[in-house]
Each structure stands twice: as C-alpha cells, then as structure tokens.
C-alpha cells in the first residue's frame, strides 16, 4: 500500500480519482465549497470597504486623519511581503502535486512566515498609529480603518493557522500527495486574502485622501 503512495501518485491521479467520485461539475465538493465561500467573503469585504469609503472623510479639521498617520513606504513593503507569500503558496501547491513533500513543507513554512511578517507589520503599524493619536474610538476614520484592516488581519491570521496546521500534518506524515487538493484549497483562501489586500491597500492607502 505504501508503495503506491510514492512520487508517482500525482495530483493528476488525484484529479482522476476525484472524477471517480462523479461530482456533477467535475470539481470536488471541497474545492467548490471553498469557491462558494470566497464568493460570500467578497460581499463581507465589499461591505467593510464601502463602510470605510463612506466614513473616511467624516472627520473634523483638527482630527487625526489618514494623511497624519499613513506611512506609505512601510506599508508598501509589508504589502510586498504579503504578495510574495502568494508566490510561495503557489510553490507549496506545486511541490505537493509533484510529490515533493520536503519542498512542500519548506514552502508552507515560508508562506506562513511571510504572512506572519505581514501581520507583525500590521501590529507595528497599529501601535504606531495609536501612539500618534489615532485610536479605534478617536473618530470615524479610526473606527472604519481599524475595522477594515483588522478584519483583513484576522483573515490572514486564520490563514497562517491553517498553513501551520498543514505543516504539522506534513511533519507527522499525514499530508501526502493524495491530499494535494487540500493544500490547493487552503491556497485558494490564501490568494483571496492577498487579492483583497491589494484592493484595500489601493483604496485605503493609495487613493488621494
């Protein structure tokens, strides 16, 4: 039995197997569920982004506003780190599909580390903003900014936890090539969270205030 679970067991075979399960669409239930869930998430972030845009200008002339706190170069770097984690996620998916379990572990850990770097950057940013006088309750901009970026940060954190769970599974020998699709599905979530950050970064940080 163990013989068959070597490198020749590829994602292609896993896909064949998924077809063997006769789903009507040809996509496995799990992957379809993730796509459907991400569709729902679009509306969640849509609502939060709308709330931010609706509220960001509603501050008094002496209030702490976006221009007073944003450090674009810093956030650009942390955004770049997050985007790079999407690349490493792709490597993680491709390595497990090829049956390269060691490579898969390395890329999973790298992705989680890059994500953690981003979250650490966000924590630093929040602390810095707070010390500059922008709290969650300070004004409408503060509430909307922290709610939006906080929700995104929570999503990244959940993604990191899932990646680390995959890593632990892999170390314990429970994440073989037959589970390549599991990694791919977590990857879908991860890419989604990254794409949302591109939108948030553009709208919150780069649009003229």
């Amino acid at each position: 039995m163990a013989d068959t679970m070597t490198s020749e067991t590829t994602a292609a075979e896993a896909a064949t197997h998924a077809e063997g399960h006769h789903t009507s669409t040809g996509i496995s239930n799990e992957k379809l569920a993730m796509w459907v869930f991400l569709g729902s998430e679009c509306l969640l972030f849509g609502g939060l982004i709308s709330t931010y845009m609706f509220n960001k200008g509603r501050i008094g002339p002496d209030d702490v506003g976006p221009d007073d706190v944003f450090d674009i170069p810093f956030t650009s770097v942390s955004s770049f780190v997050l985007l790079m984690s999407s690349l490493t996620m792709v490597f993680a998916v491709s390595s497990i599909a090829r049956g390269d379990l060691r490579g898969n572990r390395i890329w999973l850990a790298t992705t989680a580390a890059l994500g953690a770097t981003f979250v650490a950057g966000q924590v630093y940013e929040f602390t810095a903003f707070y010390s500059e006088g922008l709290g969650f309750t300070t004004n409408l901009f503060g509430s909307a900014f922290y709610a939006l970026t906080g929700f995104h940060g929570a999503h990244v954190t959940i993604g990191i936890i899932m990646l680390m769970s995959l890593y632990v599974m892999s170390v314990r020998g429970n994440l073989g090539p037959e589970r390549a699709e599991t990694v791919e599905i977590i990857g879908l979530y991860w890419h989604f969270v990254d794409i949302v950050w591109i939108v948030i970064f553009t709208i919150v940080y780069l649009f003229p205030q």
Binding site: N29, A33, T137, N139, R179
Partner: protein
C-alpha cells in the same frame, strides 16, 4: 477497483482540514465515535440530512409558538384604545421579538427543514455534500435561536429583549437610546444565526451543483430544488452584508466605535443601506422556498405538468438577481435623493413581472386540470390568492409619493403579513401536509387539515385585511397605544379577534398532528406507500418514511418529472395511461449495503461553544475568550476526526460521496469491516481496528 484507486482518497471535508489515518477512532483520545441510529442520543449526534431536516422543522414550530404568543400580546394590547395590557417598553420588546422570531427562527428554519430533507432526495443524492457541517448548521441555528429567545427571560420579563424593531435602525439602537442588553442579544444572536445559514447555504449549493444523480441536468431539477438553490445563493451573498452591519453596531455598543455616532459625524443612512441590501434579498429568501413548494403541490393535484417550467425557473432566477436592485424602496422617506427614489421605484415595479409570471403559471397549471382539493392543495391555492393580494399592495409601494404616505403605517404591516404569512407561511404549512407522509409514513388527517386551513385563512384575513384600512387612515406602526377619538378602535378589535382565530387554526394543526399520529399507531402503523399523492418528484420514488440511505440504487434520470413518466405514458390517442404500478417503479428501501456517513459529537459540541462565545460577548469577554478556546479545540477535534468512522460496521463506513450506493463496483468487494476500514488506513491501523472490534465483541 485498482489498488491505486483505493489509496488516493479525496479529502472528505476539506473546509475541516482532513487529517491522516493515525487518529481514527478516538479523536484527541477523548471520545469514541457515537454509534447507532436508535434512541434520542442518536438524534443529537446524527448527520443524516433527513433527521436534521425534521429537527429544523420541530425547532421552527417551537419558535412559531413563541412568536405567535408575542403576536397575541401585541393584538391584546392594541385591541382597545389606550390599551394597558403591557407597558410601552415591554411592547417594544414584544413586537421586535415577534418580528425577529418569525423571520429568523420560524420561516427561515422551516424553509431549511424542507431544503435539508428534500434537496438531496430531489436530486437523487444519498446525503448532502458535507453531512457533519449540515448537523453543525442546525446546532448553530439552535444556539442562536435560544440565545436570542433567552433575552426575553434574562433579567426579568422582556427587560433585556431587543427593542429596536427587526431592522434595528442605528443610532436608535445605540447605547444612548437602547441601554438594555437587548440589542446586544439581537446583534450576537443574528451573527450566530448568520453563521448557521451561511454554512448551510454553502453545503446545499455544493450538494445541488455537485451531487445530482446521473442524467439530472439543471433543467431536469424540480422547481422546488431550483427555488431552494436560488435561496441559498441569496443567503450566501446577503448574509455577509448584515454581518458587517451587525459587527459595526456591536463595535459601537461594546467598544465605543463611532460608526453610528452622529456627534462624530456618522450618517444613519449607513445602517439603513447595509440592512436593506441584506433585507430585501431576505424577503425573497423567505418567499422563494414557498414558491417552490407550491410549484410541487399544484401540478400534483392538478394532475398536469407544471405550466411553463422554464419560465418558472427563469423567473425565479430573475427574482434572485433583481432582488438586489430594489432595497432603497424601504428608504424612500430617508432622504436618499430624487434620483435614487426614481430608480428604485422603477426597479420595484419591474420585479413584480417575474412574480406575476409565477402566479400566471400556477393558474395555467390548474386551468382545465383535474383538481383534487386536498389539504396541501388548499394551502397552495391559498398562497396563490393571498400572495397576489400582498404582491399588489407591494406594487403600490413602488409609487414613491404614495409610499411616502404609507411609510411606517399599518398599511406596510398589512402588506408584509400578506406576503410572509399569506405567502411563505401558508406555503410551508402546505409543505408540511404534503411531505408529512414522506417523512413519517402516515398522512395527517384531511378533515382536521382542511378545517385548520379554513380557520387559519379566515382568521388571517380578519387580522391583516383591516390593517390596510387602518394604515390608510394613518395609524402608525410600533405604537403601544392609540386614542379612542382617532377612529382606529373598530378595525383594531376586528384584527385582534382575527389573531385569536389564527391561534385556534394553529392549535388545530398541532391537534391534527397528535390525532393523526395516535390513530396511525392504533391502526398498527399501516404503510402509506412510497407515493401517497401520486406525485412527480424523485423523493416519492423511495419508501416512506425515507430509509436512512435514501435510494436503494442510483437513479438514471432521463427527463423532467422522471418519476411521473416512469409511472405514466401516453396512448395512441394522446391520453395519459398508467405505464407501470408505483410499486414497480419505486424503491422499497431494502438495500442495506449502502455507504453512510457516521454520526459525530462535534457538531453539537461546536454549537455549544458558539453559545458560550455568544453569551460571553454580551456579558463577559473572559467567558467569550474561554468559549473561543473551547471552540478552537473543538474545531481541531472535528478536523482530526475522519468524516467517516472506520469502526462502524454495515451502514457506516468510510465512503462519503453520494454516488456509490448500490454500485457493485464500489461496495461489492469481499467487504466486511476490514475492507471498509482500509481505504484510508495503513495496515497496522486497520489491524488495530479489528482487534478493538474483537475486544468489544
């Protein structure tokens, strides 16, 4: 089946991060898997979509009594001028809880009952795509419902009940104007219910898209399946919007955020937009399942195929899309501006078109049919007529100048009760009568059913008909009292009497359930047969009550109304003739060699964790933190538990896909416990499994 095939097993529930083979029968070393399908505990741990459907229905009926009692308090208070039955503060709580209960805890879970029970059957699947998640949806719903309802009792009678109306307009629901815990219960309770509905929506969408039996193309699916699918998509996209709104409100109330703080420059329109972007699709979430039910009942009892099937489906889809473009007609008087008002007036007029298509198609289905006025048919015809009244008064709202006069009057109350009670609830009750024999194996009494229908219908019209007049006379909603000289007294008394007549009708329904069950038991539990109504859908093609494995073998569907066309053919004179007796066509449920998902503790455990977090957020964040830890631990327990139990024999083994049943290739092997356990297990583990089984034995 080759060895390679068997070693690569697709992950069963990847949302739940399936783990490997090492932890099989004692997840986390704490529990063994629940076993068996007998006794009350088996209901707590079941993952069977039919049992979950029945539990949804039972819970919805319980909350229906709660919400109904609240309605009677409202009517008692308003029966006479200067009513003094309950105080104004309590009245706010009572009408808010009535609305919230009826929308979120009655109509939606009742629809979920039918969706859970019928969707897999109607598409010919063995279960939903994710059986454990399905169980979790129910327990999560129940947690939210109990949390919300407990607000009525905690800290005194209606002292901490939500009191801002079901739409909870902020900033009226801010701490300043609503200092009790009520709105916190509302926000947290609805969040929990939202999680339940979202999980259920994803599950059911995947089920319909992915688990249709052979030949079941989209345009061979019954209209009920279509309407429920559209409902799930509406839920999928509407829930996150209200989730955002509820989070903002919670942040404002718990942590002093400024989203609805007008002093800090906030605009109250934000809540109204977010709420109604959810709220109007929600209206179709409530009504589309009933439309689907009516579309099943009428062709059955008109003994004709549904007129214009494709138009029926297309109009449902059209409603699903257009439902997103009409929300601001709830806000015509809120100052959204003349352009918005004009645009939303037009879109509101347009959405009447697909609804009208449905009404006309139902009428055309009945036209020249050989109608049998059974109880379900009476309810269906009741929906068609009552919903039309509600739909027409709805179109009057699209005329903005007239709507400006009607806003916040009893005219609105009359309108939405005609569509939600006269449409959704009557349809769902019709569904109870129609599918009762399918779920329980005996029909409800026709005599009591018809009597109960007429009492409910008459009471309903006496309650809500006069509200049109009261509204046009200018009586406001949400007022606890009115003066005697305002001219509202007579019709309010009529409405109150009508409400108690409805209560009698509802009591007759419950009496019917009791009497019918008793008579059936006394008669020695006669078998009602798979197809007591001579109906059309696949669900009638298996035994009643539906066996745990649904169908004995995969069904190959070759056209719409497949089951009907197996029973009936056309002779040379184009007359419909019997082609085969039902007993030949339908399955008898005798196949015991079908793979079934195993029961699990985790869904209900997770539901309990969510309840803990909910109360924690309202009362004590430390409790919430403890709840969160418990929740995360439970999630890992869930993940580490294989979706199927390798220990279980017979029915319960490791294949989780719905397409294996009766397929000799997949389960006709040398079989037995070891065989079924081995797919995901290394040899040593399955040896251990057998060892343990031997020990137990």
């Amino acid at each position: 089946m080759t060895i390679t095939d068997r070693t690569i097993t697709a992950p069963e529930e990847t949302l739940a991060l399936p783990a490997g083979p090492t932890i099989a029968h004692r997840p986390l070393g704490v529990f063994t898997r629940p076993q068996g399908s007998e006794g009350w505990t088996s209901w707590l741990f079941t993952v069977d979509h039919k049992r979950i459907g029945i539990m949804y229905g039972a819970a919805a009926l319980f909350f229906f009594l709660v919400g109904g009692a609240e309605a009677l308090f409202i009517r008692l208070q308003l029966a006479t001028p200067n009513g003094s039955v309950i105080g104004a503060g309590t009245y706010n709580g009572v009408f808010t809880m009535h609305g919230v209960t009826m929308v979120f805890l009655v109509i939606m879970p009742m629809a979920a009952a039918f969706a859970n029970y019928l969707l897999p059957l109607q598409v010919g699947a063995r279960d939903v795509a994710f059986p454990r998640l399905n169980a979790f949806s129910f327990w999560c719903f129940l947690a939210g419902g109990l949390l919300l309802t407990s607000s009525v009792l905690i800290g005194g009678w209606f002292q901490n009940a939500p009191d801002g109306g079901w739409f909870a307009y902020a900033p009226n629901t801010g701490l300043l104007f609503s200092p009790s815990k009520g709105i916190d219960f509302y926000a947290v309770g609805l969040q929990i219910l939202g999680v339940a509905s979202l999980v259920s929506a994803i599950n059911l969408i995947v089920t319909v898209l992915n688990m249709r039996t052979k030949g079941m193309s989209f345009f061979r699916m019954p209209v009920l399946t279509w309407m429920l699918l559209i409902t799930q998509f509406l839920l999928l996209f509407a829930l996150p919007v209200i989730t955002v709104a509820l989070f903002l409100l919670m942040f404002d109330r718990l942590w002093d955020a400024n989203f609805f703080n007008v002093e800090a420059g906030a605009d109250p329109l934000l809540w109204q937009h977010l709420f109604w972007i959810f709220g109007h699709p929600e209206v179709y979430i409530l009504i589309l399942p009933a439309f689907g039910i009516v579309s099943e009942i009428i062709p059955t009892f008109a003994r004709k195929p549904l007129f214009g099937y494709h138009f029926m489906v297309a109009s449902g889809i059209a409603i699903g899309f257009m439902g997103w473009g009409v929300w601001a007609h709830h806000m015509f008087t809120s100052g959204v501006g003349p352009l918005s008002v004009a645009a939303f007036s037009v879109s509101t007029m347009f959405i009447a078109v697909p609804t009208g298509v449905k009404i006309l198609n139902w009428l055309a289905t009945m036209y020249r049919g050989r109608l049998r006025f059974t109880t379900p048919m009476l309810y269906a015809v009741g929906v068609v007529s009552m919903f039309t009244i509600g739909g027409l008064s709805g179109v009057t709202h699209s005329i903005a100048p007239s709507d400006t006069q009607q806003t916040d009057t009893y005219y609105i109350v009359a309108h939405f009760h005609y569509v939600i009670f006269g449409g959704a609830l009557l349809g769902l009750f019709g569904g109870f009568y129609f599918w009762w024999p399918k779920a329980f194996g005996y029909k409800l009494s026709e005599a009591w059913g018809k009597a109960s229908f007429w009492v409910m219908l008459i009471g309903f019209n006496f309650t809500f008909g006069p509200m049109h007049i009261l509204g046009l006379q200018g009586m406001s909603r949400r007022i606890a009292t009115y003066r005697g000289d305002e001219g509202f007294a007579f019709w309010n008394m009529v409405a109150t009497i009508g409400a108690f007549v409805i209560a009698v009708g509802v009591a007759m329904f419950f009496w019917n359930v009791y009497v019918s069950t008793r008579n059936w038991r006394r008669a020695g539990r006669p078998d009602v047969g798979p197809d007591p109504w001579d109906a059309r859908g696949l669900e009638w093609m298996t035994a009643s009550p539906v066996p745990e494995h649904n169908f004995d073998e995969d069904i190959q569907v070759d056209r719409l109304d497949h089951f009907w066309h197996r029973k009936y053919g056309v002779d040379e004179n184009h007359r419909v003739v019997r082609a085969a007796p039902t007993s030949e066509v339908a399955h008898d449920g005798s196949n015991t060699n079908v793979h079934l998902p195993s029961p699990s503790y985790w869904p209900i455990v997770l539901g309990g964790g969510i309840l803990l977090v909910g109360y924690g957020i309202i009362y004590n964040l430390w409790l919430a933190a403890a709840g969160l830890v418990f929740l995360v631990a439970s999630i890992y327990g869930w993940i580490l538990e294989p979706a199927d139990d390798p220990d279980a024999a017979g029915h319960h083994d490791d294949h989780d896909d719905g397409d294996d049943h009766g397929d000799p290739d997949s389960n006709g092997g040398p079989s037995g416990n070891g065989e079924s356990a081995s797919a995901e297990e290394p040899e040593s583990e399955s040896a251990e499994t057998e060892e343990e089984a031997a020990t137990i034995g």
